[in-house]
Symmetry: C2
């Protein structure tokens, strides 16, 4: 995971619009990174597209990273889960 000055918004199981609002607040000042795992990945992509097409026209994608994270289950086994990281850059002024 790249460490930068970007703020992160973790996408979970709430409605897409909740995360759009959270990301908007960050994007007024600096780039934002949307992070999601597993089934929430599609929601992260929805949030990114809503931001870019409806709320902040002119904002653009930065890095898009895909990775696998290993979770340790309580019974000692491991589960691999895919993750995505979508960087959104604010509109150029």
């Amino acid at each position: 995971m790249v460490e930068k000055n970007d703020s992160k918004v973790f996408i979970g199981k709430k409605k897409a619009m909740d995360y759009v609002m959270a990301a908007m607040i960050v994007l007024s000042k600096k780039p934002v990174r949307l992070l999601a795992r597993g089934r929430s990945i599609s929601r992260a992509v929805d949030v990114a597209e809503i931001l870019r097409n409806k709320f902040l026209k002119g904002s653009d994608y930065g890095e898009i990273l895909i990775n696998t994270e290993t979770l340790n289950n309580t019974d000692g086994t491991n589960t691999n889960i895919s993750s995505i990281e979508i960087e959104i850059l604010p509109p150029k002024k």
Copy 2:
């Protein structure tokens, strides 16, 4: 959508492994693009990670594109749906 010589694999509702196999066949010769819409986006990311980590070590991501497609419903309304396009490059020999 970028037009290149890449072959495309459309990710739908089947098991991830079915698409991994389809993509493997293409990747033996040239880059492949995984395409998915809506809820299948998470599955496309899974397929990409399985390919890269288990079956074709050394393969890497090319372009990752996120877009919105507009579908025309039978009742005349439109639905916006997010889509993703993940390019995977075969391992360098």
